[in-house]
Amino acid sequence: MKLNELTLKATVKGIKSGEFKAVDVAKATLDEIDAKEGDIGAYLTVNKEDVLASAQAVDSTIASGGKVGDLAGAPIALKDVILYKGYPATAGSKILKDYKASYDATVSKKLRESGAVMIGKTNMDEFAMGSSTENSGFKLTKNPRDLERVPGGSSGGSAAAVAANMASAALGSDTGGSIRQPAGFCGIVGLKTTYGVISRYGLIAMASSLDQIGPMAKTAEDAAIVFKAIAGYDKLDSTSNVKAQYGQEILNPDFESLKKLKIGIPKEYFEGGLDSDVEESLQETINWFKRNGFSVEGVSLPNTKYALSVYYILMPAEASTNLARFDGIRYGTRTEAQNLEELYLKNRGEGFGAEVKRRITLGTFVLSAGYYEAYYGKAQRVRSLIKRDFDEVFKRVDVLLTPTTPTVPFKFGEKSQSPLQMYLSDIFTIPANLAGVPCINIPVKGREKKLPVGFQLTGKHFREADILGLGMFYEGQ
C-alpha cells in the first residue's frame, strides 16, 4: 500500500513512531496529484515547495524530540472558501481570482498547530452555491469513482481529493449539504457539525445562519480526529458556542453504551423518488443495525416536506446580504467605470457566475419591501416548525438514519439546465442545517465496485460523539 492511501490515523501514527517520515507521505501525495489531477481536477492551488517544507518541519521536530500535534504530517486539503494566510481564497469565483488571504481562518490556525500539512486549496461551486461543482468559475471536478459523473458539491474538490488519495483528509463547508452530499457521491465520510461548534472566522460566508465547516475523511475515525482538532469555542466568531467542548469520547467511543442508542427511521425520507440502488442500500443498512442489536423504530418529522422551500428563501436572502461586500472596491482587481453605480453593476455583473446572480436576485426579492413578511418572515416561522420536529423526535430516539441523497451521482450536464432539479438533490441534507443538528454521511459498505451510496446519521445538538461513534462501529464490524 502506498503511503498516500493510508488512513489519516495510520499516517499520523506511522510518522510519530518513526516508521516513515512526513516528507515521504507528502511526496507520495504530491506524486498521486501529479498522476491523477489532470483527470480529476480537484485542486485550484497546490504549492509543492510549501508542502515539502511543512512536512520537513514536522520531521525536524520529531527528530529533535519535540512534541507534535494530533495531525502531525497528515496532508489535509482546504476548500477554497477557507482562508489560509498567503494563499488564494477564490471561493470558486472569478470575482476573487486575484485575492490572497491576509490572515488564517481559525480552522487553518488549528490545523497548523496540530501539525497538519496543508496540501492545497480545492475546487468548489462558486461561493458554495451548487450541488455538482459545475458552478466553479474555474474548472470542472470529476468524480474519482466514475469520471463521467459529478463529484457532488459544493465541496466537490475536497471530496474528490480525499476519494482519490490526493489528500489524507479535507475540510469543506456545509450550508445545505455541501459536505455530506459530495461525500456521499464520492464514497467518503463527511461531517456537518452542530451549529456553532467549529469557528467560522476566516470562512467566506454564504448563509450565516446555516454555514458550518467540517471534516471530510476516508473513515469516521479520521473524521473524528480532524473534528477534535478543529472544534471549540472561538471569540472571533460571534456565533461560536461555549458548549463546544469535546472530550476523549469523540476518539474512543464506548461501543457497549453506543449499542443502547435508539435509531429512528423518519418515514418522510423514504416516500418515493429514491433511486432503487439507494433504496436497497438503505434497507440493507437498516437491517445491518437491527442484526447488530440496535433498537430501530419508525418516526415522523412531518414538516420535512417544506425544508427545501424554506431553504431556498432563507439561503438566498442571507447570501444576498453577505455577498454585498463583493462590490469591485474591496477585493481583488478593480474595473474602472464612469461612476460608482456603473462600477458596481459592471463588476458584479461580470464577476459573478449565473447561479450566484440568480440567488442574489432571488434573495433581494424575498427581502424587499412588500414581500419580506410573505417570504422571508414566513420561511423563518416554518423553520421553527422544522426544528421543533427534531426536538420532538429526539425525545423518543437518539439518532436518525436516512439516505444522504435521493440518487447515485449524476452525469455532467444532467441537472445544470434546471436550477430547481439541481436543488432537489439537496432535499435530504437541508433539514439538519435548518435545525442546527449534527449530521454525518457514511458510505454504505460493499459498494466498492459500484457507484457509491451514502447514508446519514443525524444526532442531537452537541452529540457528535453518537453519530461518529456509530459510524466507527459500522465501519469496524
Binding site: 460571534s238 417544506y306 453593476l345 434573495g363
Partner: protein, 92 residues
C-alpha cells in the same frame, strides 16, 4: 405576484444581459412557484427562527488588525491609506 428580474437584479447592483434576463426570469418564476407551498403551512403563533443560534448580543474587544498586512490586500492604496474611487457625481 409580479416578479420582475430586472428590477431586483438592479437593486442588487448586478447588470444582466438580455439573455440572462430571459433565463433568470423563467428560473426564478419556477423557484417562486415551488416555494408557494409555504402559504399552506399554518404558522399562527409560531415564533420565527431568526438565526442559527439562540445567543444574543455577543461582544468582544475591538482590537485593530495589522495595518501592514491588510492595506496591501486592498486593490488600491495611497500613503498607507485605502484608496477608493470617487463616489459623488457632480458638475463642477
Amino acid at each position: 405576484m409580479e416578479f420582475d428580474v430586472r428590477k431586483y437584479a438592479n437593486l442588487a447592483r448586478i447588470r444582466l444581459t438580455d439573455e440572462e434576463e430571459t433565463k433568470y426570469q423563467k428560473d426564478l418564476e419556477e423557484i417562486l412557484g415551488y416555494v408557494e407551498e409555504l402559504t399552506r403551512v399554518k404558522t399562527e403563533g409560531v415564533e420565527p427562527m431568526t438565526g442559527g443560534t439562540e445567543l444574543r448580543n455577543v461582544f468582544r474587544e475591538d482590537i485593530p488588525g495589522e495595518k501592514d498586512v491588510f492595506v496591501p490586500a486592498f486593490p488600491e492604496e495611497s500613503n498607507g491609506h485605502l484608496k477608493v474611487p470617487k463616489i459623488l457625481d457632480y458638475e463642477a
